[in-house]
């Protein structure tokens, strides 16, 4: 089942990557990148559960903390730039 | 005495930190830098005496013996480079302080300068290839900052070229480190020396060339040097002086160190080195002749002079490497001096373009002397140190029966003379042809010395140093020979590092 979760997450990642590369607006790319990050967080959690090793959980915590920061910055940026 | 070894690295860093904290007081910053760099010079003197007497000293950072930790290794080569470099850094600092210029007043200047010092010193002392990368980065990052501190248009353009090329070189360095670790499982240099010998011959030779290219960018070898003449001349003179004197030499140092330490005779790229040396000399000096600006001419001659050092290495004989080491010592001092003189010229004439200044013989005879002596030395005119260096190379070349490269070297020295004479004639004899650039700074009042006392005196001191190198050429060359013997037989180095 874990393997299936990985595959599903990989597919989701591919979808987000599609949005990231196609855009068309900067906001769309931000959405894609954001989704990409979420898939990463999910994969980290699944990985930890799968191996039983918690070494990567600090990275998960850090991602939860800093991921929104780039979002916020870019949002401020879009606000100035438009689209 | 092993406690002395890390001092030239750590002390400037403590100084840099203090300097950042002392940002509100320029005086305090200057005192910090002067005290720190003077101490480092003293430490370097002590080191070179001890190393020459007792042999290589190893200090393991953190107390972790190689290959676990980072070994700092002071052998003759490192010690002599350290001494010359730290002396230059101190003298140029005095010059920079003596120049009443706005850029050097930036709150960050002193601290970044100390970082540069630490990086240069660490590059010489480290016995670990990855730490060498870090040392390079310290030195380079500081140099990026110093180069662009003024933020002028030319500086920004030059800074782009310089930073981008340096970054490429750094990326290649990391890549090489990755590949080396992949192949050997270590980054300790003494350890690498042992393990590289076990690699297949093709891989070994390839790594030799790869390292040559990586450091060749920093050292400004053909065809990797183009960035240098575009970037160095835009910095303020004391900065260019340090760059010219030290940074390329750190690259050459790394080339000599790695080629002699890592690679057994059969995988050293001797012929390639000689070809590169010839091309570097020729293209460098042709570039110098084609230029019209004091700093640009001097920058191109850096390149051609680097060719001489590579040529010495390319012989892979004691005589050749000794000549290369002697050349490095000579060139660091003389090139620094020339750029300092060039700075004085620019200050007194209001420009460094040959067409905009002229007939300065009358108003600034002191500068004429301060320029002419190192210029003649650079061109290898006896009895100056440049002649000893040139003769040592020629001698080594004939002993190795490499007549072609020697001939190139001799012709290039004549062309070097021509380029120096073009500066001399353009600045001190010819009348100025173009009117002063109205935007550029007007010629500064120079006084009897041709410049502020604290700029002229350090320059004069370096001129005296370069003459002293010629007078004391006997012992210095003997030292270079001992250094070369050490380098070509690295067993002592490896043993010293691995002695737990």
């Amino acid at each position: 089942m874990t393997q299936a979760a990985f595959v599903v997450l990989a597919l989701a990642g591919a979808c987000f990557a599609y949005r990231l590369s196609r855009g068309p607006s900067l906001a769309d790319r931000v959405i894609g990148l954001n989704g990409f990050l979420l898939v990463g967080m999910g994969a980290l959690a699944v990985h930890a559960a799968h191996t039983g090793i918690g070494s990567f959980l600090p990275a998960l915590v850090a991602l939860a903390l800093v991921g929104p920061i780039s979002n916020g910055m870019i949002a401020r940026f879009i606000e100035r730039l438009g689209g | 005495m092993s406690w002395l070894v890390p001092v030239p690295i750590v002390l400037p860093l403590v100084g840099a930190a203090l300097s950042i904290l002392a940002g509100r007081s320029r005086v305090a910053q200057r005192v910090i830098s002067l005290v720190i760099l003077t101490t480092v010079v003293a430490a370097s003197v002590a080191l070179i005496i001890v190393v020459d007497r007792d042999g290589t000293i190893v200090s393991n950072a953190g107390g972790w013996a190689a290959p676990l930790g980072i070994s700092l290794v002071a052998d003759r080569f490192a010690a002599v480079m350290l001494l010359v470099a730290s002396a230059m850094l101190l003298v140029v600092l005095i010059y920079a302080i003596g120049e009443p210029g706005a850029e050097r007043n930036h709150v960050g200047f002193q601290s970044v300068y100390l970082v540069l010092a630490a990086g240069v010193n660490a590059s010489f002392l480290t016995g670990d290839l990855f730490n060498l990368f870090v040392a390079f980065e310290m030195m380079l990052t500081a140099s990026y900052v110093l180069l662009t501190l003024g933020g002028g248009r030319e500086q920004v353009r030059a800074g782009m070229t310089y930073v981008v090329i340096s970054l490429l070189a750094s990326t290649l360095f990391v890549t090489t480190l990755a590949l080396l670790y992949s192949a050997t499982g270590t980054v300790n240099m003494a350890d690498l020396a042992v393990r590289i010998a076990d690699l297949p011959p093709g891989v070994r030779s390839a790594f030799a060339v790869l390292l040559l290219v990586v450091f060749g960018i920093k050292a400004a070898l053909f065809p990797l040097f183009f960035w240098l003449p575009d970037s160095y001349p835009t910095a303020p003179s004391p900065i260019t002086a340090v760059f010219a004197g030290l940074l390329t030499k750190v690259g050459i140092y790394a080339i000599i160190r790695t080629q002699t330490l890592f690679f057994p005779v059969d995988s050293r790229p001797a012929t390639l080195l000689l070809i590169i040396a010839g091309a570097t000399m020729i293209f460098g000096v042709l570039g110098a002749i084609a230029q019209n600006d004091v700093k640009r001419i001097l920058s191109f001659t850096i390149v051609s002079q680097i060719g001489y050092m590579v040529m010495g290495l390319g012989f892979f004989t004691v005589a050749g490497v000794a000549a290369a080491v002697f050349s490095m010592i000579h060139h660091i001092v003389v090139k620094t001096t020339l750029f300092l003189s060039g700075g004085l010229i620019e200050r007194a004439g209001g420009s460094s373009r040959l067409t905009r200044v002229g007939a300065m013989m009358r108003d600034a005879p002191v500068l004429a002397v301060l320029f002419l002596l190192p210029a003649l030395s650079l061109a290898g005119i006896p009895p100056f140190s440049g002649f000893i260096s040139k003769f040592a190379l020629v001698d080594a070349g004939f002993a190795s029966r490499e007549y072609a490269i020697v001939a190139v070297g001799l012709v290039v020295s004549l062309l070097t003379l021509l380029s120096m004479i073009r500066i001399w004639a353009g600045v001190f004899w010819n009348p100025a042809e173009e009117p002063q650039d109205p935007v550029a700074s007007a010629p500064a009042a120079t006084g009897r010395l041709g410049g502020p006392v604290f700029m002229v005196v350090p320059t004069a001191f370096l001129v005296a140093c370069s003459i002293a190198i010629a007078v004391a050429a006997g012992p210095i060359y003997a030292f270079s020979e001992r250094t070369a013997a050490d380098l070509l037989d690295p067993r002592a180095y490896i043993q010293a590092v691995n002695a737990r």
Binding site: M1, T2, A4, A5, V8, L9, L11, A12, G13, A14, C15, F16, Y18, R19, S25, A27, D28, V30, I31, G32, N34, G35, L38, V39, M41, G42, A45, V46, A48, A49, H50, G52, G54, L57, P58, L60, V61, L63, A64, L65, G67, P68, I69, N71, G72, I74, A75, R76, I78, E79, R80, L81, G82, G83 | -
Partner: protein
């Protein structure tokens, strides 16, 4: 087992939202779709992982990540939505109603003090 199942369900939710991000036509709609992945999907995965993990420290770490995520991700997605909304071309939206049009107009006119 239950942990793995939750993980899988969460992953599928993430995938569905990813499909939405691909399918939806305008950025705000895509933003809505993303919110799905970022909330329930990820939380289910985290819960599933927490169930599967044995070390207490690891479980608390996962919990922490979840709490922090709930705490930090809404304001960020609000900001992105806000940016999209404020910068989009008001005349070309599919919205049936836009009570914020006035605000929008004022913002565009620089009444908010923005220097954009």
């Amino acid at each position: 087992m239950i942990g793995e199942l939750l993980t899988l369900i969460g992953s599928i939710l993430v995938l569905i939202s990813a499909l939405g991000v691909v399918r939806f036509a305008d950025p705000l709609a895509r933003m809505h779709a993303l919110a799905k992945a970022s909330t329930l999907g990820l939380l289910l995965i985290l819960v599933g992982a927490a169930i599967n993990l044995s070390d207490m420290n690891d479980i608390t770490s996962v919990a922490l990540a979840g709490i922090l995520h709930i705490l930090t991700s809404p304001p960020a997605s609000n900001m992105v939505s806000r940016a999209i909304y404020l910068e989009r071309d008001a005349t070309h939206t599919n919205d049936v109603i836009d009570e914020g049009a006035v605000t929008l107009a004022r913002y565009r006119a620089g009444g908010s003090g923005s220097s954009a």
